[in-house]
């Protein structure tokens, strides 16, 4: 992406066009070239979310389950409410901001753990396929195709129906989202790494396959994997919030972003903020991570799709 230089900022006279002015301006330009403003905003938001996730306990002004029946359906501060409840309260007088903070924490932790599981499953299967080739590879590729052919939403719903929902099971289930893409990428990368000399050379030193894959191939393909995991992350957030919205994911009294929206939809008329606050959190967060992921992909790995 190129940053246009505004003509109005051109040096007015040759005297002003001294080296220092020119370089300082192009340095700013170079900075924004390297870090587009959108990416900076996205990074800022992700940082904020990270702080919220880590410090939810201390940041949340109220207990997220605390009822206050005298303070029911108070609007947020910018809709005529007060600073006591910056984002208002819900039907039971629970503080929306506190609930939002806790929800963000739970949604993010689930998304993070799930992506981690997807990474482990995907990388392991991808490496197994690359290592064994032949029949093992065929079976893994078939699994990948089958998974890719079935909308994950349906699979998730079926599993939830058959096995019931618990936070643990739900997280593991979300962890199966996207494994097939990661497996496919890892397999391809590992096969091409194997064809490169360094993997063969280490094998010829007498290294075990485990060592070759974990010490040499994995670090060499890590940047590409991290980019694709970053792109997987927002999709897991969307899936999790969708299922929780339907009441099939995170169960009350626990709360997640999707739960909050699902609860808030009943007050869409009387107290739309209950639903809008978590909705905005979902959208801005997924958008930020997508922007970051796209940017990283363009920057580090133009081959990945």
């Amino acid at each position: 992406m190129t940053i246009d230089t505004t003509p109005g900022l051109e040096p007015a006279s040759p005297a002003h066009a001294s080296g220092s002015v020119f370089t300082s301006k192009s340095r700013v330009g170079a900075f924004f070239e390297a870090w587009p403003p959108l990416v900076l905003i996205a990074l800022f938001w992700i940082g904020l979310i990270a702080v919220v996730v880590v410090g939810a306990k201390w940041i949340a002004p109220y207990d997220f389950m605390a009822l206050d029946l005298r303070a029911r359906l108070i609007p947020p501060v910018f809709m005529g409410g007060s600073w006591l409840h910056p984002l208002g309260t819900d039907e039971l007088g629970r503080d929306v901001l506190s609930r939002l903070i806790v929800s963000i924490r739970i949604s993010m932790v689930i998304a993070f753990l799930s992506t981690l599981i997807a990474a482990i499953v995907g990388v392991s299967l991808g490496f197994l396929a690359a290592y064994f080739r032949g029949r093992v590879e065929q079976v893994i590729l078939m699994l990948i195709d089958a998974q890719a052919a079935m909308p994950f939403m349906i699979i998730a719903l079926a599993v939830l129906a058959f096995l019931g929902s618990s936070l643990f099971l739900f997280t593991v289930l979300m962890g199966f989202y996207g494994w097939e893409r990661i497996a496919r990428i890892s397999r391809g990368l590992a096969i091409s790494a194997n064809e490169r000399g360094y993997a063969t050379a280490v094998r010829d030193l007498g290294a075990t396959p485990f060592r070759i894959y974990s010490r040499h191939i994995l670090p060499n393909i890590a940047s590409t994997l991290i980019v694709s995991l970053t792109l997987n992350f927002p999709e897991v957030i969307l899936l999790e919030s969708g299922l929780s919205f339907l009441g099939l994911g995170v169960q009350p009294p626990m709360t997640s972003l999707g739960n909050m929206v699902g609860y808030g939809r009943d007050y869409i008329q009387s107290a739309p903020w209950i639903m809008l606050a978590p909705s905005a959190a979902i959208v801005v967060t997924t958008l930020s991570i997508s922007i970051l992921g796209d940017w990283m992909r363009d920057k580090f790995d133009p081959t990945l799709d």
């Binding site: 050379a201 280490v202 010829d204 030193l205 007498g206």
Partner: protein
């Protein structure tokens, strides 16, 4: 005393697909087609030949990196197989390889000292980290790398320095056999001599045996105690370097030797120019595989394959030489 490395009638055929006609056809590419040689402990065998004659394939077969189609490799009395099991891995301690492309052989994400220490980690996991580091530093020193290069990454070194890293890593465990597949051909001419001298020194100091592969006769001559000349997957001549290069018997070796531009020899000997390219190893000519380019080929060369026949430590696979002309020459020496 049996040799350290004993190679018998080694063959490696690749199945290849030839785009021909409607569906193409399958054919067998004879990369290595019946090679036998032996290397004594601490000795170096030089292997020369044109590009594509099967040198690298021979190297990989010797180390058991790829399975042989036929024939055997015995290392210190043990069969070398290409099944990459624990025994195979343990054997790596005693046989190592140096590659043509040192950058490709190194992991670009690890500092070179870590890579030099890797053989210790693999084969002596019990070795304390301090000792590992110390021995790696010693290795670096012995291959002429400065201590400040230890934490550099492969791309931060020159080609010659990288090859030194590869050499240090290969020698970490004091192997008995080192296979060097064109170790200097990717390097700048000015650095080639340095690396060769280093290898020579190290060999003198540690006493490893070597299979030294190159298409450069001068290099092979400098490095080897014995040489073998390969053509289309077979050895056509072998013997002591002085013998083979000063008095080449096989027409192919003669052509190779005559192509070396040496001031001393200029004018003395006609340069023999081989006609055409080497034939494809898929359609190896019948009889003597060299007959399509041999300047003195006879009718029988086309039908009967010559055997590699030794006389006085100098072996040649050519009907004409073995028919009697050669012994006369040798007798005169």
């Amino acid at each position: 005393m049996s040799a350290l490395l004993q190679v018998k009638d080694l063959k490696r055929h690749y199945e290849v697909h030839i785009p021909e006609g409607l569906f193409g056809r399958k054919a067998s590419l004879k990369a290595v087609d019946g090679v036998s040689f032996a290397i004594e402990k601490g000795r170096t065998l030089g292997l020369v030949g044109e590009s594509g004659c099967g040198k690298s394939t021979t190297a990989k077969l010797v180390l058991g990196l790829i399975p042989a189609t036929a024939g055997t490799v015995e290392f210190a009395g043990t069969r070398v197989t290409a099944r990459h099991d624990a025994q195979w891995r343990a054997m790596r301690r005693r046989m190592q390889m140096i590659y043509q492309d040192p950058l490709g052989a190194l992991d670009r994400r690890l500092p070179v000292i870590t890579q030099i220490a890797e053989p210790f980690e693999i084969h002596h996991p019990e070795m304390p980290a301090a000792e590992r580091t110390e021995r790696s530093a010693l290795l670096m020193e012995s291959v002429g790398l400065r201590p400040d290069m230890a934490m550099r990454y492969p791309h931060e070194l020159s080609g010659g320095q990288r090859q030194r890293v590869v050499i240090a890593r290969a020698l970490a465990l004091d192997p008995d056999l080192l296979v060097c597949d064109e170790p200097v051909s990717a390097l700048d001419v000015s650095i080639q001599a340095q690396v060769l001298n280093l290898l020579d020194d190290l060999r003198e100091r540690t006493g490893f045996a070597a299979l030294f592969i190159s298409h450069d006769l001068k290099v092979v001559r400098q490095m080897s105690d014995q040489v073998a000349v390969m053509y289309l997957g077979r050895i056509v001549e072998s013997g002591l370097p002085e013998e083979v290069f000063r008095h080449p018997q096989h027409p192919y070796t003669k052509a190779l030797v005559s192509a070396i531009p040496t001031p001393a020899r200029r004018g003395k000997r006609e340069r023999i120019v081989l006609e055409g390219d080497p034939p494809s190893p898929v359609d190896v000519p019948s009889g003597c595989s060299f007959h399509t380019r041999c300047p003195i080929a006879q009718a029988s060369c086309r039908t009967v394959a010559p055997q590699l026949i030794e006389s006085g430590g100098h072996a040649v696979a050519c009907h004409l030489v073995n028919a009697g002309a050669a012994p006369a020459v040798q007798a005169a020496e």
